[in-house]
């Protein structure tokens, strides 16, 4: 993980390339105990609400985005992740997670990095966007 002093405004984190498969979404929904059938695992339920196919649950998309941040900063570094679901996230499509550092500051004895996080598709779709706050160690520690 980086030290706070190594991070600069405008730094890019990622990209992390991934994909949500039918099996992955099914497994996630089992943990979630979501009612069935639903628009996440069932094509008919998805088309009934006007979607072209089953979609990735919002909280799963959020967990995917979190993975970029914990890979970069460590498992316990995330303080805040606030996202907006802009477009339904499809199954079996390339997904890219990127983040850009928008602020660095020291606050209440913590070294905080704020960044914009985005989950995008291969055609430039902006599926989920948001802001994250991460606490990093200092090289002086």
């Amino acid at each position: 993980m980086p030290d706070f002093e190594d991070v600069e405004l405008g730094d890019e984190i990622g990209p992390m390339e991934t994909e949500a498969t039918d099996d992955g979404v099914e497994a996630f929904c089992q943990v979630w105990e979501n009612r069935k059938p639903n628009r996440f695992t069932d094509s008919e339920s998805a088309t009934k609400v006007g979607l072209p196919g089953p979609i990735v649950p919002g909280i799963m998309a959020m967990a995917i985005m979190t993975r970029l941040l914990t890979d970069w900063a460590g498992a316990g570094a995330l303080k805040d992740l606030d996202v907006v679901f802009r477009q339904p996230v499809p199954h079996h499509k390339p997904l890219t997670v990127t983040a850009t550092v928008t602020d660095t500051r020291q606050e209440d004895g913590e070294n905080l990095v704020e960044c914009d996080v985005m989950l995008t598709g291969a055609e430039g779709e902006r599926y989920v966007g948001g802001k994250a706050i991460i606490a990093l160690p200092s090289s002086a520690d």
Binding site: T18, G24, V25, A27, F28, Q30, V31, W32, E33, N34, G58, I59, M60, M62, A63, I64, T66, R67, T70, D71, A75, G76, L78, K79, D80, L81, D82, V83, V84, F85, G130
Partner: protein, 149 residues
């Protein structure tokens, strides 16, 4: 012009509870496997213990899977029909590890209109606080729903 929204304001300050939920190794591993997680502290207990955690560590947004277990009342909003999940915010406050029991406590946080290019929408925000078996707050989660005209 300020839009006067009609809904059940008596819900402010009321808590709606669910749980406790057992956080098991199997549940954390099923969650991380579905995400192709590779960080050892999220998938291997020995690695988590070696890193100083009290057990297999749950990823920061893990508790979001429990939010929908809270039975929320209808706020009787006199506006629109279509409701979509518009956003979510997670603020991890402490570690959640395998063997923990967490409870959820949800309350109505905010209801506000927003007018944009596609017309007016009303946002309904619920906040859920998660506590572990020691009474420590381990996460705050906000869910926003957008109601369209």
């Amino acid at each position: 012009m300020v839009m006067e929204l009609e809904y059940d304001r008596s819900l402010y300050g009321k808590e709606h509870l669910a749980g406790p939920f057992d956080v098991t190794t199997e549940l954390i591993q099923a969650f991380t496997a579905s995400l192709s997680e590779t960080n050892p502290v999220f998938i291997d207990e020995a690695a988590a213990l070696a890193a100083g955690y009290k057990g297999l560590l749950a990823p920061p947004t893990f508790c979001t899977v429990f939010v929908s277990r809270v039975k929320l009342p209808d706020i009787n909003l006199d506006f629109g029909k279509m409701q979509v999940h518009a956003g979510q915010r997670v603020q991890p406050r402490g570690d959640i590890v395998a063997g923990d029991q967490v409870t959820a406590s949800s309350h109505l946080k905010d209801v506000y209109p927003k007018t944009g290019r596609s017309g007016t929408m009303v946002f309904v925000v619920w906040e859920t606080t998660f506590r572990n078996q020691h009474g420590e707050v381990v996460a705050d989660v906000q869910e926003s729903f957008a109601v369209k005209e």
